[in-house]
């Protein structure tokens, strides 16, 4: 199919024909990735450069495609949780919640209050861990010289480690937790866990100002301010969500706007919004969210009500859950934005497994902005922009 120009001023044309570009210019084609530290995984992007300036970018995702959606069609509802853990491997808790909420909606399973509290707390602690990992890798993307070599990276990973320890105490796993089930939780809060949560989050919240001091010096500001501006219209059309959308000045957060779990009881949830839409704004939004998530998790951990942690009966055999058939869409707010699950369930004999499970990964939409944002920037800025998008290739490619 011949590419047709998609002229939508003022955005760059992603299907620019480089043959029509200034014939005097000395164009260079650079292949970034798929194995390059700045691409945060296996992401490949072909860049056309005029001197140092990018005129066109062609992204090629798909190197990590495992066919998760196909696999889910063969598994029963109770068996899917550990598979989706591997999608967004930086925030697996949220992946489990997203699919299980869709299954609960489809199967009509009630989640008890204690489990809903636990889910909210786990989601917020996981958000802290995810944003810390992003902060560390973003500082490294901008050059090791920021914040004294790889210091910020190492410090952030140290804090994230303490959160992984918390999850290990709760679930026995450090990474792929498999702690959510259809109807509730698999692991109850162990004795003394709340005190550990307070201690860990208190330590992290005291250190955030230190990282800000380390990072916000003139070089960091120059490399992020005004770089990679995404305007609100483009962000909405592309389907950018989460910190990327809020950094572009759109006040939208599913935790407040379409509350699930117990977010409807959190009347004072502060949504971080910045209007500039550049890398600096995205950094500011995420640091504000770090603080807010710590506050919410610490506020809730003392108020978890007693009661059962699962509304579903204990799983005795696969295929215990039978769907009647139908279609639901559920979206939740992960550290990267709206993680949606579009579930088409078969009825009758096909009620054990999803007929079709479509996962809507926020990172896929984030990466789709690359052809619109890269042109006009230098190659080194491209790395900064890619880092600020916080893509996780596991969920982009699924």
């Amino acid at each position: 199919m011949t590419p047709v120009a998609l002229a939508r001023a003022p955005w760059p044309d992603p299907y620019l024909n480089v043959d029509d570009y200034d014939p005097e210019a000395d164009l260079m084609v650079i292949n970034l990735g798929p194995q390059h530290p700045s691409t945060h995984g296996v992401f490949r992007v072909v860049l056309y450069l005029d001197g140092e300036i990018i005129i066109k970018a062609i992204p090629h995702p798909g190197y990590l495609h495992r066919g998760v959606e196909k696999l889910c069609e063969k598994l029963t509802y109770a068996q899917i949780t550990p598979i989706v853990d591997k999608n967004d491997y930086v925030a697996p808790m949220l992946n489990e919640q997203a699919v299980n909420m869709a299954f609960e909606k489809m199967l009509g399973v009630e989640v008890p209050l204690r489990a809903r509290y636990m889910r909210t707390i786990l989601a917020e602690i996981q958000r802290v861990a995810s944003h810390l990992l992003w902060l560390g890798t973003f500082a490294m993307d901008l050059g090791g010289a920021l914040g004294g070599g790889t210091s910020v990276f190492m410090y952030c990973f140290r804090e994230r480690e303490s959160i992984l320890n918390l999850f290990e105490d709760l679930t026995g796993c450090r990474f792929h937790y498999n702690t959510h089930t259809v109807g509730g939780q698999r692991h109850d809060i162990p004795a003394g866990w709340a005190a550990k949560v307070h201690q860990t989050l208190e330590a992290i919240s005291q250190r955030i100002p230190e990282y800000e001091t380390m990072l916000e010096h003139p070089i960091f500001v120059r490399r992020t301010k005004g770089v990679g501006v995404i305007d609100a219209d483009l962000a909405l059309e592309l389907g950018l969500t989460g910190p990327l959308l809020r950094a572009s000045g759109v006040d939208h957060d599913l935790r407040r706007d379409a509350p699930y779990h117990i977010y409807d009881q959190l009347k004072d949830l502060a949504v971080a919004v910045e209007s500039e839409g550049d890398c600096m704004a995205r950094y500011k939004v995420r640091v504000k969210e770090l603080r807010e998530s710590i506050r919410i998790a610490r506020m809730l951990i003392d108020n978890v009500p007693e009661g059962p942690i699962s509304g579903g009966r204990p799983i005795k055999q696969p295929g215990q859950f039978k769907a009647k058939g139908g279609q639901v869409y559920v979206g939740i707010e992960t550290p990267r934005g709206e993680l949606g699950t579009y579930l088409i369930a078969g009825g009758g004999k096909m009620g054990d497994t999803p007929y079709r499970l479509k996962i809507r990964p926020p990172s896929l939409h984030a990466l789709a902005c690359v052809p619109y944002v890269f042109p006009g920037h230098s190659l080194s800025d491209a790395v900064a922009i890619l880092g600020s998008l916080d893509p996780i290739m596991g969920e982009v490619d699924r």
Partner: protein, 170 residues
């Protein structure tokens, strides 16, 4: 307040579907739980109308394959192979409302691409073309997104066996 916003949007969505896009029923009667079915000629116009009316966030699209089902008795007619494309949009801010609709396609039919309404539809439609094999007419760059360019078949079709052998890696 946010809930009333959501209700207002839901009613506006119902009225719009019934007034201009041929969905059956009273103007403000509830829509089916599975999402309303819209004729494929209306698909792009509906997306445009919704965007203009405030559903500005492109969320996702999901194509599904329904293989031909033989009748229960030999005399019964076979249900022909078909596809279904579901599209999801959102309004932003407090009381966000999800607008979703479905379009049914026969095996040889195409659906209009939404790339010129929402640029975010670009990759989503490429992915659905790649994995399910639905053709999005008017898409400027309908290439495979996830699978290798020379892959044969569309893996997310229901009749594509999960253990389909493929040529050794090139």
């Amino acid at each position: 307040m946010s809930e009333s916003e959501n209700n207002t949007r839901e009613l506006a969505f119902r009225r719009l579907l019934r007034a201009q896009f041929g969905v059956e029923g009273e103007p403000e009667a509830p829509l089916p739980d599975d999402g309303p079915l819209v004729a494929r000629e209306h698909h792009k116009a509906l997306a445009k109308a919704l965007q203009a009316a405030g559903w500005r966030l492109y969320v996702t699209c999901a194509a599904t394959h329904f293989p031909a089902v033989p009748g229960k008795k030999p005399t019964d007619a076979t249900t022909p192979e078909c596809f279904e494309v579901a599209t999801v949009l959102r309004s932003v801010g407090p009381g966000t409302h999800v607008a979703r609709w479905r379009v049914k396609l026969a095996a040889d039919e195409t659906i209009d691409s939404l790339v010129r309404v929402f640029v975010g539809a670009d990759w989503q439609e490429r992915e659905q073309f790649d994995l399910v094999g639905v053709i999005f007419a008017g898409h400027p760059d309908l290439r495979r997104l996830m699978m290798p360019e020379d892959w044969v078949g569309h893996p997310l079709r229901r009749d594509y066996a999960i253990d389909t052998p493929h040529a050794p890696w090139r």
